[in-house]
Each structure stands twice: as C-alpha cells, then as structure tokens.
C-alpha cells in the first residue's frame, strides 16, 4: 500500500540519527530492522551499487560523509528515482544549513540564501 516502508539515517556506528516509519512495527522489530539495515549497508564497498535486497524489500541508500541515508521500498520500485529522492532531500537539508548553522540563525535574508544556493549549485 505504501511505497516507502521507512526512512533511516544512521551514522557509521549504526546509531540512528533519524527514523521515520511508514509501516507499523513494534519497538523490538524496529530495533531489529535498524540493526539489520546497518549490518547490510555498512559492509558495502563504495564501488558497489547503492541498492541492497533486504528481506522481501530493497533498500536504497546513499552515504554522505559519515551518515547513511536509507530508504526501504518495494522490490519493483524504481531504484534511481529513490536514490535521487535522497539526494533531493539532502539538498533541501543544505537549504536549512544555509539558514541555520550550529543551532544559530545564520542568514535571514531570503534573497541572500537563494544567491548562496545558486552559487553552490553552480559549483556542482
């Protein structure tokens, strides 16, 4: 019924940074899933694909520095679309970063934020 089963952001040590569940699990199950995902994802080489089969689903993950962004979806879903979805999500994150930094408001002028972002985009 739901396309995305859960989103997990973990660090390399397997600590959860963000977890969002779109399916019902009880707490033990969640914990088990988190551990399993961590075990499956962290062993993978940078040269490997960004996709892993996981139980009867698949996980699409992307690593940004020390953080793993993982999305669990149906096996039939379009892998790349989700991979880019993660990236989009991270890009939005950078918007937040432009505005707030280290817990402080950094920039309030919308036009300035936009300019900064455009500059960043041109760097890519």
């Amino acid at each position: 019924m739901f396309r995305i089963r859960f989103i997990l952001i973990q660090n390399r040590a397997g600590k959860t940074r963000l977890a969002k569940w779109y399916m019902q699990f009880d707490d033990d199950e969640k914990q088990k899933l988190i551990e399993e995902v961590h075990a499956v994802v962290t062993v993978r080489d940078a040269k490997h694909t960004n996709f892993v089969e996981f139980r009867n689903f698949k996980i699409i993950y992307r690593r940004y520095a020390g953080l793993y962004f993982c999305i669990c979806v149906d096996v039939t879903d379009n892998n790349l679309a989700y991979l880019e979805g993660i990236h989009n999500f991270v890009e939005v994150y950078t918007v937040v970063d432009e505005m707030f930094l280290a817990g402080e408001i950094r920039e309030t002028s919308q036009t300035k934020v936009l300019k900064q972002l455009l500059m960043l985009q041109s760097l890519e």
């Binding site: 019924m1 396309r3 995305i4 089963r5 989103i7 600590k15 959860t16 963000l18 977890a19 399916m23 019902q24 699990f25 707490d27 199950e29 969640k30 914990q31 088990k32 988190i34 993978r44 080489d45 040269k47 490997h48 694909t49 960004n50 996709f51 892993v52 089969e53 139980r55 009867n56 689903f57 999305i71 149906d74 096996v75 039939t76 379009n78 892998n79 790349l80 679309a81 989700y82 991979l83 880019e84 979805g85 990236h87 989009n88 999500f89 939005v92 918007v95 937040v96 505005m99 707030f100 280290a102 817990g103 402080e104 408001i105 309030t108």
Partner: protein, 1132 residues
C-alpha cells in the same frame, strides 16, 4: 517518491516559521533537546546511551505529570520524548499528553502535539480516537495553518471507523481557494481510499476534478489515487489515457513552472508516476497503447543521458514500452537504452540495466545474447546484488540445454549466500528448474540433494512435498520411474552412510520417506542395512522429534524378517514411553505392524501411493463402533469448540490441553493412511517448528502485501515476431550434435570476435556458449516452437483425462463423417476423406437490420450446418437465383467455381467448395488447398446479377489462426455475372480440433445502401499437418525436449502380425504423417503443424490395441492430433 520530497517541502515552511515567531524555542546550543542530542553523540557505548536516555525519560515523566507544567514546557518535553522514542526507547506515558497538547495548545504547540502524535501512535492505537474531535475542530477552523495541520495528521493516520465523521469536511476542502489545502485534502482522501476504499467511492468524479486542477501540485497528488485505482481496475480508466498523455507531454515539454525542475529536469518524479500509469493502461491493449507511442518516443528523446534522475525516467520509459502493446520502433530505441545501461561503467546503471534485461528477456532473448559477455562478467562481480540479479536473468533464459550450467551457477551462489531470504528464493528457483529441465535422473537427484542440504529448513515446505509427490506419482514410463527411485534410494543410503549429522531436518524427512517407500527397489540393498541406518538417525541428538516420526514410519514399512522384527521391537520399546505423543503413536504402530505382517501388507501396501487415496471423511466405517459404544453408555462425541465452550461456561478446572490433544491424536492415528508423514508435516509444520514459525512471524508484518512476482514466467505473449527474428541468431554450443555444431561454427566465425583471445577471455566465451545455448536459436536447431518452450522432463501425470476427451466429445456431435466430394480433376487419394469442412451460416452479432436481410435472403440464419446439410442446401440457393442449373445436385458449385481456382493452386489437393453465404445475387463460397508448406484458403465471390457490386471489403479474422492475404491488392468490385477470387494463407496460432475463420464482407450494390454479410468457415486441424522427415536419432533428442504430451489407446486395423504397419499406413495416408521407423511392435512417427511446429508420436502394440503417445512443444497439439488419428482409423 514524491511523498518524501513533498513532506520535506511542507516541513520547510514550518521550520522557517520557527524563526519568525518571537519567543519560539530554537534548536539552539542552550536548548534541552540540543543538550540531549549532543550528550548522546558524545557517548561511546550503547550501554551509556541507554542509561542517559532512561534518566532523561524519568525526568520527562516527572515533569509531564506535574500540574504546574505549562503548555510551552510541555511542547519542549514532547520534542524530547519523541526523540527518545525515535531512538527506540519507549515513552508511552507521554502519548496522552501529546494528544492533549494537540487539543489545547496554541498554533505552534498544537503543531508539536500533532507531530508527536503522528510519531508515537500507529493506526490501530486506541488513543487515536481521542484525536478525532480535535481534528474535526481544526478542520473547521478559519486558521489556514490549523486546517493544514489537521489534514496532515489525517493523511498520516486516522481510525478507519471514524472516516465518515470527517469525510464531508475533507471533501469540502477540495474546493478550497488555497492549493496547499486542496493538495492535502487530496492526499487525505488517498489515505482514506487506501484504508477504506468503499467509503470514498461516491467522490470518484471529484478526483477527476483534482486531476484537472490548475495547480500542478494538486494534480500530482491526485495521481497517487489514480495509480492505485488503475492498478486495481485498468479497464475502468481507459478514458484517462488521453489526459495522462497530455499531462506527460506538457511536463516533458517544460510547461510546468521552473520550481518543479530538479537538476534542470522537469518534474522527474511526476514523469515517472505518469509513465507508470501509462504502462498500466496500455498493458494488453492495442488501441490504448496506440495513443501513447508518440509521447513515449518524446520522453525517450528528451531524457538525455546525463544524470541519475534522467536514467530513472529512461528506466521507467523502457519498462513501459515493454509492458504495453509492442511497437517495433520504440522497442528498438528501448533496447538501445537497455544496452547503454548494461554497458555503463556506473555500477548503479549496470544493475538497472540487468534488471531491465530481466524484465524483457522473455520477449526478446536476442537482447540477452547481445550482452552475453557483460552478463558473464556480472556473474563474477564482487557485489553480490549484481550477481543475484544476473542469476535472476539467467533463471529466465534457462532451457533444457543450458540448465546444468545455470543451476551450477545458482548453487555456487547459494553456498556463499548467508541471507535467508535469498536462500529461500533461490532454492525454490533451482528446484523449479530441476523439475522442469532435468537432463537425467542422476543430475536431478543430485541437484535436489544440494537443494535440500543448502535450503535446509528455510526453504518453502512445498519443495520437499512436491518432490515426494513427483517421485510417488511417477511420470511417463514405469521403467524410468523405477530407475529414478532406485537412484534416489542409492544416493540417500550413501549420504546416510557418510554421516547424516549435518543434514537439515527436512532433508532427513525426505530421505526417510523415500527409503521406507522404495528401498526394496534396490536389489543389492539389504533391508537390515537400511533399518540400521535409520535407527542410527533415531539415536542422533540432532534429529528433531518430527523427523523421528518420519523415521519410525519408514521403519514400519521396512521391518521385514527376523532381523527387522527385533530392531522394531527395540526401537518401539524405546519410544513407546516417549513424552511426545506423536512419537509414541508411531512407535505403537511400529510395534503392532511389525508383528502382524498380514495386517501390515494391508495397511501399508507397496507402491500404493500411486493409487489415489480414498478418504471417507465422514468416517462412516466407524458407525457400528460408535453405536455400540453409545449403547454401552458412552457419552456422545462433541466437537472441540463445543467442548471448550462448555468448559468455559462451567468455569471448571481448565482441561484445555486434554481437550485439544484428543482430535489431534485422532487424526494422526489413522494408521491406514499410507501418506501420513506428508500429512503429518502439515500439522507439525504448525506445531513442531515453532522456531521457524516465530521467525516467520517476525517477518510477517514486513510482508504485508507480499512480494509480488513481478516478472512472470511468461513474457509478453502477443509479441511473437521478435522471437522469430531471434531465431536467426546463432550461438555456438558444445552441446549440439555434430552437424548442428558445424552450422554453429560457421555462424560463430561470422561474429566479429578478435581471433587471438586471451585465456580468461576464452573461458568466458566458453561459459557464454554454454549459458546462452538454445536461446533464440531453438528454431534453427530443430523445428521446435516459437516462444513457449517448456521442455519439461518430469511432467506430472494428469489425474483426469484432460481436455482431449472433452473437446472430442463436444465436436464429435457436430461432425458427421462427410462423404468425400472431391473434384475429379483434383483427385488425390492421399488426402481425401480427412478434409471435413463445416459451414456456419451465422450472424449472431450483426446489427438487427442486417440479420433481417440475411434471413430474408436465404432464411438460414444461426444454423450450424454440417457438410451433409450444406450439400443439400446449396443447390436450392443457387437454383433459386438461377445461376446454375446443374443436374448433379452434389457438385454444382464445385464444377462452376473450381475453374476459377488460382493457377498455382491447381494440382494440389483441396477440399470441396462450400457455400458460405449469399445475399441477393451475391454468393460467397470457399475451399482450402493444401500445399506442401502452406494452407491456402480460397474465397470465391460470385455476382450473379448484371449490375456491378462496388466498394467491396472482405475481412477475415480468427482466434486460432493467423490469416494473411495473398492477393496483392484487395478486390474492391465484382462486375456483373463474374467471379472474383481472394486467396489467404493460414497458419495455426492455437491448435484446436477444428479451427474457424470468421469473415465480414461489406459491399455496395449499384442501387441501394451499404450492406454486409458475415460468415464463418471451419476446417480440421488435420489440414495443417504435414510430414516431418527426421532420423531416429533426431527423433530421440526431440522427444526428450518436448513437454506437452498425451497418451491414448487406439483400435488396430487388423488383428494380425502386420497390424502395426497397416495401421500406421492408414494414418500416414490420411493425416500426412511421416513414419520414421517401425521396429517389431513399436513404431515412431513424426509430423509438423504448419509451418514448423513438430509433433512426435510413439506407437506400441499392447494387448490388442495401439498405445499411442504424442509429444510436442505446443500445448494442445497432441490432444488435437490424437483426435484426428482416432477419426482417421474409425473412418477407414
């Protein structure tokens, strides 16, 4: 996907609003949440984290329950509680406070309350009911933000039963001036549709309005609903195709606002969604597919290969193109696209390419051939996921020729794979392939041994079950069955001798059953040896009690002779005091039956499993016993549920375990049930394997709607052309016969491979040739069929006679053996009497005025006439119109029309010309002509008036036949008093005893309005049969490769020594079969169905009848052919 993006985007403004609201708590370095997070990140061990969070939770708990906590503080507490909950620590005490916060707080506090609720609770949580009123209130609020929040929480979770309470309010929001509200309302309705589709049925047309919304966001949201609805019922939404195409066109053309661009690609996720919808709509629907070709082409063109997201679109496009009705240009482009993917250096793209290839390979094996070297490389890729996908691809192209290599590769992978899910899946596939394509007994048993040892106790239980069923039911020949079983026995004995310690329980169960049932087949095997091996199993610590039951049953079957009895006594003594009731039961059986060999022979007869078991489910044979017991004062039987109810009512001491154990032991003590181990496995699968059960239970929630088998075994069936094309592609193969090898070598040399290949490269090529053998080259190897080749070696016997008798029953009523009426000029004694034509003067579907016309014309509408009737009617029709005044009532039309037969067809054998239908002065007749490699249908149109008939259009169509016109230009007019001839070539698509062509002819008489007539023409399948010249060796290889078979006994022609030859000669003459060889009492015969579908026949004289066995790669062909053989012999 867009859900995530959407949610992030909607979350953004609220994040931003944090800062616009004065006094709002920011995630500053001084905030408590900030401290908590920092504290956690600084910790090194999990244990410390636990301690810290427990401390945190205790303090939160204290504060929330204190009456002095303000709403603002509460908000802060909720944020921390959610964070702890997210990290996996329970904070259930805060749930109710979150709801309160959502109810009572100001806008921001409310927001946090809603957020906490949506993170804390799940759909079925009972506290959610407390939220309904709040939602209701907020939906009616004039504050946009409050409405927004309410809609957000509703689209995340809402109790199903309460939907009617808020539905009208949500519906109303569809007309809200703000697009954000409209969009959220649509998403909320999507949620309702998911959890309670019936409740939103009445607003389906409002969804349409959302689809046409001027705001792209609202439109996008509505696509979720449509995708879901179209998936469930594609037929109901075909009319949307044009709209979806238009939307996609606009998106691709960049008509959306720039804000929707992602890396300068216009709304990529929207494009993907639209493509998905299109593929659902266009699947198996030619005319709908027609509408989308253009936009698909444009999508392919626009999506330049430069960024991941465009690849994502391309992948979806390719899938769509291969799902909808095929169009060759698009397929070509899509194939090229897949090629780019597969060859890409980027690993993600390569993976996607493999996935796409797997999706399309059954329709287009040529593609796999093109990329065989890449596939080989992927097979050894360090990334397991790539390897796994490659195996999936290979699984799809497995045939009888490459099965050993592919299965070996799969088993190799299985040995290194540690993931249970992969093992379960792959083991199932290996078992499927082994059953289907096993080249010989040894290989089959050995492969299954590996399957059982590797798959162990994680494999699907139906694998061992169907394996045992296969062994016990047997297949085609008694001798083969015996060999297979004997080989299995030998193999298992040596396995047990080698030490059974490591073997999984399921495998041990299979072994015990087979040994018990069939070890007598192996003559040099002493039953005592088997018994001692089995009793060793019983003693092993690793053997589960379920397996022990199997072993005991096997021993019961084997305990013959003095040695047997003593072993049996020993064993049964040990286990008759076992705590396990099932084991005790088995031990008792063993004890009794080992002492009474007569009873044992009756209860457990040898080879009895071949007989269908008759189960008297009412247990009527016990009636006498029951009545006696009742008479003696026993209490009447009560079903378990009734007993438990009574127990509950009495509130007496709970005797539940006893109550339950009764029926179980009842069912398992059915000693007479020879197959009880198999049955037992069903019940013990529930009770015994509790570990496995809990394991499954753990995953059960993840499986919610199951993993669909997306890539079906059969590809796109209507796409035959490309398969035919692939027939030209040759693959070198070491497995072919020398003459074919020669051919293959030639073609191999033609392929541009650099001659000096390095060693590893050569190895790869060798592997390639063994993997891709038989792919697409089937029809050049022999005459094997086109697409659906399932060369099943181990085909189960059909329990019931199947379709052959059914269809012959139906048709035999309508076919009256026709008198052969063949034009003397074209007389051909080979092919006379088997041509039966049936005439169908019917127009049931024609418009009313038309059928009236018809009935006034000849008054024989809707009448199915046999040949005899036709010959009786023909003259009258024709004479009425005064065309022919022939004296001979039998062949009036023939004589007159046969002279119009096309020159190239004269001299060939043909059927008599039969009238099809008439309309005033226009008469249609037809006959079929059998060429060496073709069957032509000739339609004669006779205009007997002086005025011309114009704008004539003749269309033929058939479900079972492929009809193609031979004439260059379609005939458009028939001059007065003349005959026009149309010629068609027919080939069989779907064999059936009689095949039928339906036709419509529309025309305009010189005076009057457009007219049309309908007709149909039936011809026997036998007219498509031609001899197939093969050698005995070729026959042998083909025989093994074909999977569809049928057996029947036919009557012999004579009762003497030459009876076989005589009978085969009759068949040869009447049906154009080729007699390959006759040796003693056996004969082999081959024929083909035009153009090149082979069918082989094996005949043996057996007890005064001719036992005929037909095999073919085409499903219904053997059944149809046996019918015609029967008729041919009857008529003789």
């Amino acid at each position: 996907m867009s859900d995530v993006v959407e949610k992030t985007l909607t979350a953004l403004p609220s994040l931003l609003s944090l800062d616009s609201q004065p006094g709002a708590a920011k995630l500053s370095s001084t905030s408590k949440l900030g401290n908590l997070i920092r504290g956690i990140t600084e910790l090194t061990s999990k244990h410390e984290e636990e301690k810290l969070i427990q401390r945190e939770l205790t303090s939160i708990k204290e504060q929330v329950s204190s009456p002095n906590t303000s709403m603002r503080q509460m908000k802060e507490l909720m944020v921390r509680a959610t964070y702890c909950e997210m990290l996996g620590y329970e904070a259930s005490f805060s749930y109710i406070h979150a709801i309160k916060l959502a109810q009572q707080g100001t806008a921001l506090e409310k927001r946090v309350g809603y957020l906490a609720v949506s993170l804390f609770l799940n759909e079925d949580h009972e506290l959610l009911l407390l939220l309904v009123n709040t939602v209701l209130k907020d939906l009616q609020s004039t504050n946009l933000i409050e409405v927004c929040m309410a809609l957000t929480v509703v689209s995340q979770m809402f109790p199903k039963d309460m939907i009617p309470a808020i539905l009208p309010l949500v519906e109303e929001k569809l007309n809200h001036p703000k697009e954000i509200i409209r969009r959220k309302a649509v998403l909320a309705l999507y949620k309702f549709y998911q959890i309670a589709p019936n409740q939103v049925q009445h607003i389906h047309n409002k969804f349409r309005k959302a689809l046409c919304d001027k705001d792209p966001g609202v439109m996008t949201a509505s696509l979720h609903i449509y995708l879901q609805m179209i998936k469930e019922n594609p037929e109901g939404y075909k009319d949307l195709t044009a709209s979806v195409v238009t939307i996609l066109k606009q998106v691709v053309g960049g008509k959306l606002p720039m804000d929707f661009n992602y890396h300068s690609v216009p709304a990529p996720w929207l494009q993907i969604q639209l493509l998905r919808i299109l593929s659902l709509l266009g699947k198996n629907d030619h005319s709908t597919s027609e509408i989308m070709y253009e936009v698909l082409d444009e999508s392919l063109r626009r999506a330049e290969m430069n960024h991941n997201i465009t690849y994502a679109i391309l992948y979806e496009c390719v899938k769509c193109i291969y799902t909808i009705h095929p169009k060759s240009e698009l397929l070509e482009k899509a194939a090229k696209c897949i090629g780019n993917f597969v060859l890409s250096q980027k690993i993600n793209l390569k993976y996607l390419g493999l996935k796409a290839l797997t999706y399309v390979v059954q329709q287009d094996p040529r593609l796999a051939l093109q990329h065989q070297m890449t596939i080989i490389e992927c097979l050894d890729h360090p990334d397991l996921i790539i390897k796994r996908e490659t195996l999936e691809l290979l699984f799809r192209i497995t045939n009888a020729q490459n099965v050993t290599v592919i299965v070996e590769k799969m088993l190799e992978f299985l040995r290194i794979s540690k993931d249970d899910y992969t093992t379960t899946d792959l083991v199932g596939k290996v078992a499927e392939l082994a059953e289907k394509y096993a080249p010989d007994n040894e290989w089959f048993i050995e492969t299954m041994n590996t399957v059982f040892s590797v798959g162990g106790d994680v494999m699907q239980p139906d694998i061992p079950n169907s394996f045992l069923k296969l062994l016990s039911e047997g297949f085609d020949s008694v001798e083969e069955d015996r060999k297979l079983r004997q080989f299995a026995v030998d193999s298992y004995v040596s396995l047990l001798q080698g030490g059974p310690g490591k073997l999984p329980q399921r495998f041990l169960q299979v072994i015990s059953w087979v040994l018990g049932e069939y070890s007598h087949l192996s003559e040099e095997l002493d039953p005592a040896t088997v018994l001692s091996l089995l009793s060793k199993l019983l003693d092993s610590k690793n053997t589960s009690s379920e397996t022990k039951s199997w072993v005991l049953v096997a021993m019961t079957k084997l305990c013959e002779g003095r040695a047997g009895v003593s072993v049996a006594r020993e064993v049964s003594e040990t286990y008759s005091s076992s705590l396990d009731t099932a084991l005790r039961q088995r031990a008792q059986e063993l004890q009794h039956l080992s002492q009474d060999s007569e009873l044992r022979a009756r209860v457990l007869p040898r080879d009895a499993s071949r007989e269908p078991l008759e189960v008297d489910s009412s247990l009527s044979f016990l009636d006498g016993f029951v009545s006696e017991a009742l008479a003696a004062g026993a209490a009447p039987y009560k079903p378990p549920h009734q007993r438990q109810e009574e127990l509950a009512q009495e509130k007496a001491l709970s005797l539940e375990p006893y109550g339950l154990s009764l029926p179980i032991s009842m069912s398992s003590c059915s000693i007479g049930d020879r197959q009880s181990p198999t049955l037992l496995s069903v019940s013990s699968g529930l009770s015994g394997d509790s570990i496995e059960l809990s394991h499954k239970g753990g995953s059960a929630t993840l499986k919610l709607d199951g993993v669909k088998r997306v890539w079906g075994r059969e590809g796109y069936l209507s796409k035959r052309e490309s398969v035919e094309e692939t027939a030209q592609v040759e693959v070198p193969s070491p497995l072919r016969s020398p003459s074919q090898q020669g051919e293959a070598d030639k073609s191999h040399n033609q392929t541009p491979t650099p001659t000096p290949t390095p060693e590893p490269e050569q190895e790869k090529q060798q592997l390639a040739s063994s993997l891709f053998v038989g792919l697409g080259s089937q029809s050049s190897v022999c005459l094997m069929g086109k697409s659906d080749l399932t060369n099943q070696r181990f085909r189960r016997k059909a329990r019931c006679p199947g379709t052959s008798s059914g269809s012959s029953e139906i048709t035999s009523n309508s076919i009256v053996s026709p008198p052969s009426m063949v034009d003397s000029l074209l007389y051909n004694n080979l092919l006379d009497s088997n041509i039966t034509s049936e005439l169908d003067l019917a127009s049931p579907q024609s418009p009313p005025q038309l059928s009236q016309d018809l009935s006034t014309a000849n008054g024989t509408c809707d009448v199915d006439l046999t040949d005899r009737d036709v010959t009786a009617n023909n003259p009258s029709i024709i004479r009425d119109n005064g065309v022919v005044a022939a004296e001979d009532p039998d062949k009036p039309t023939d004589l007159c029309l046969s002279s119009h037969l096309p020159a190239e067809l004269s001299g060939l054998s043909r059927s008599e010309i039969t009238a099809l239908c008439s309309h005033q002065s226009l008469h249609l007749s037809a006959c079929h002509v059998q060429g060496d490699d073709s069957l032509a249908l000739v339609v004669f149109i006779l205009n007997s008036s002086d005025s011309d008939v114009q704008q004539m259009l003749l269309q033929l169509d058939s479900d079972q036949l492929e009809v193609s016109s031979v004439s260059e230009s379609p005939v458009q007019e028939v001059r007065g008093d003349s005959v026009v001839v149309c010629q068609y070539s027919l080939t069989v698509k779907r064999p059936s005893v009689l095949v039928e062509v339906c036709g419509v002819m529309s025309f305009m008489c010189s005076v009057g309005t457009p007219q049309s007539v309908q007709f149909s023409y039936k011809l026997p399948l036998a007219s498509f049969i031609r001899p197939l010249t093969v050698s005995t060796e070729e026959y042998g290889t083909m025989w093994l490769a074909f999977s569809h078979d049928t057996k029947q006994n036919l009557t012999l022609m004579r009762e003497d020594r030459e009876s076989l030859t005589a009978t085969l000669n009759v068949l040869k003459n009447k049906l154009q079969l080729h007699v390959v060889e006759i040796i003693g009492m056996e004969g082999i015969v081959a024929c083909r169905l035009l153009p090149d579908q082979p069918c082989l026949m094996h005949c043996r004289i057996n007890a005064g009848t001719l036992a005929v066995w037909l095999r073919s790669p085409i499903p219904d062909l053997p059944d149809c052919l046996i019918y015609h053989c029967q008729r041919a012999l009857q008529e003789h």
